[in-house]
């Protein structure tokens, strides 16, 4: 499992590898929580690539409802069908009516599509942004891997998709949903692992630059910031410095490119006051 994920360029630690293994074998969703930018969403992409399955993504937002997430009837096509029947002179009203609610007039939205695609990886992104009511929709889906369409009956997945749910903890997700899932908390990675991730994602960048920036970000995380930078920000920062043609970073350069890691004015101001030179000379001693 682990080797399969790492082949896609996504580095996992032991806990996450076990989580993925269990998710596949127990057919349970993985519920991923953690700060933004620690690789929750990337996990789903890596899983999809490792399993050779398509990734089906449902981005949650406030006010999302069943017709956007599950299915919708294709009204224009139904009308067209009626008109065509009219033109052809079919008058058997009862048959016509039953034809209207046929599977071919059902537009599959991400959740239904995931059930019908075998195999597939379903990513329900930022579930905490959706409303409470939406979680209830997910319950049936995640426990039985089935969707009930009143006019059509229950559509069931032959083999359940791999489901990854992510949350940024802006809202507490209901326990009824969570207890159907494997819970995994994403911590910020340690220096060694973060460096390995950066090098894997940006192979063309100088080793020294990657080391230095990783050390700086690790130091920044220890500060009391409004939003501590995630791995995504580390990669952004390395990429930004690389784009400037730097093969190593000094305090001055670090301060002038701080905007790619710190996204709040308060944080940037605080970051400016930090002694980057000291961190940089210290960072080199970290193994």
């Amino acid at each position: 499992m682990r080797a399969g994920l790492e082949a896609t360029g996504y580095l996992v630690d032991e806990g996450l590898a076990i989580a993925c293994f269990l998710a596949l074998r127990l057919a349970r969703p993985i519920f991923c929580e953690g700060d933004a930018g620690v690789g929750k969403t990337a996990l789903a992409a890596a899983l999809a690539e490792a399993l050779g399955a398509p990734l089906i993504r449902l981005q949650c937002h406030e006010g999302i409802d069943a017709s956007q997430a599950l299915y919708d009837w294709d009204f224009p096509r139904q009308l067209l069908h009626l008109r065509a029947a009219e033109a052809a002179g079919i008058t058997d009203a009862e048959r016509l009516e039953s034809e209207l609610y046929d599977r071919r007039f059902l537009v599959a939205r991400p959740l239904l599509r995931a059930l019908e695609t075998q195999p597939s990886v379903l990513l329900v992104d930022e579930i905490d942004r959706a409303d409470d009511e939406f979680e209830a929709f997910l319950l049936e889906l995640l426990s039985d891997y089935a969707v009930t369409v009143p006019e059509l009956g229950t559509l069931r997945a032959e083999s359940p998709p791999v489901v990854v749910l992510t949350s940024n903890r802006t809202r507490e997700v209901h326990d009824a949903l969570k207890r159907r899932c494997l819970y995994h908390w994403f911590d910020h990675p340690g220096f060694g692992r973060e460096l390995a991730i950066v090098r894997r994602r940006l192979p063309g960048v100088s080793v020294r630059l990657a080391e230095q920036v990783t050390g700086l970000v690790q130091a920044l995380r220890a500060e009391d910031l409004v939003k501590p930078p995630g791995v995504a920000e580390t990669i952004d920062w390395v990429r930004a410095l690389d784009a400037l043609g730097a093969s190593e970073v000094d305090a001055e350069l670090a301060v002038s490119t701080l905007g790619s890691v710190l996204k709040y004015r308060e944080d940037v101001e605080r970051g400016r006051g930090l002694d980057f030179a000291a961190v940089l000379s210290g960072a080199m001693e970290v193994p």
């Binding site: 032991e14 806990g15 076990i18 989580a19 293994f21 269990l22 074998r25 127990l26 349970r28 929580e33 009204f75 224009p76 009308l79 067209l80 903890r169 507490e172 326990d175 969570k178 207890r179 159907r180 494997l182 819970y183 995994h184 908390w185 009391d224």
Partner: protein, 388 residues
Amino acid sequence: MGGSSSDAPSWLVAQFPAPLKGVDAALLGFARALRVVGVNASAERLHAFLRAVDLLGPTRRTDLYWAGRLTLCGERDDLERYERVFAAYFGSGEPAARAMPAAPVTRLRVVARDATGSRTTTQREAEAPPMAALAGSAEVLRHRDFAQLNTDEKAQLHRMLAAFALRGETRRSARRRPARRGDVDPRRTVRELLRRGGEPSRLLRHTQADRPRRVVLLVDVSGSMAPYADALLRFAHAAVRGPRTEVFTVGTRLTRVTRELSHRDPDLAMAAVSAAVPDWRGGTRLGVLLREFLDRWGQRGMARGAVVVLLSDGWERGDPELLAAQMRRLRRLAHRVIWANPRKARPGYAPLAAGMAAALPSVDAFVEGHSLAALESLAAVVRGADRA
């Protein structure tokens, strides 16, 4: 305690190869110990845990650790408790392979029956923190005066305050939102109609939306309020999580602390506030500061239509007449003016302090503010529950 092997303490069962039941009893006892410390390890989670252990084979300590952590925990706060119980139960360090006997295949059916038979966990439970006892004291604490708490009680109070929520009374907003009943929403209906090829479909409706009013808290941090200021500011911290809440401290100066309080962690927020507020435990110039608040913030819109809460004992050093005038001004601007006075709960209290007496005619609701229960009823008044 019987003599059979399954009645041995569960950590012993965990250490030695035992009949099948022994392993399950150990895992079950572990889950029960987790429940005692407050992890919500429900039956469904336990079921998943046993299946996971079965799948991974309980030979390696790390596998067991992750199987439990992934299936039994449900939120971040659980993780730390899980770590503690796991260490207590299966030993904290290496050697990793020794913690569980090798290879026995666990079967769920056996476990379910074993659940009632195992009394081996009581020992462990006794070591866990007595959460039930804490829950009992919470009720007592709710009614205690903040000024008379010891350090432990304060710590518990802080945790309870962190769970507070403060919502302003709702008002009808100008915006409309989609609804099941209400007026026909012409735009959405026509758009839906067009999407369906011009075929008339259902009528979509909308109705006017309600919005909570802004809540403005003015917290007195002068010397006379010293025993209460910390608890009230923590209350304010919990309130600031709501989107439309502003907090100011008043003493000898007016300080806006909304931003300082926006730290998620209460202790960090309190540290930020104490760094920002220059006039802790000084005197009180309520009238002057209220005028400053109204000039700089209130008149421009912050107090307009808002629920303004003053948390103060009303001991005014300055001119009571000025305070009275400013209170009248505030009342004309604000939707409601609420005064919470921690001293109101003292037996024989009468609003004799010059400032308090001057302010009272312009106050819509005069409430207590000395205990958790009092703050709860204050939150109800802010929500408009007393008038409903």
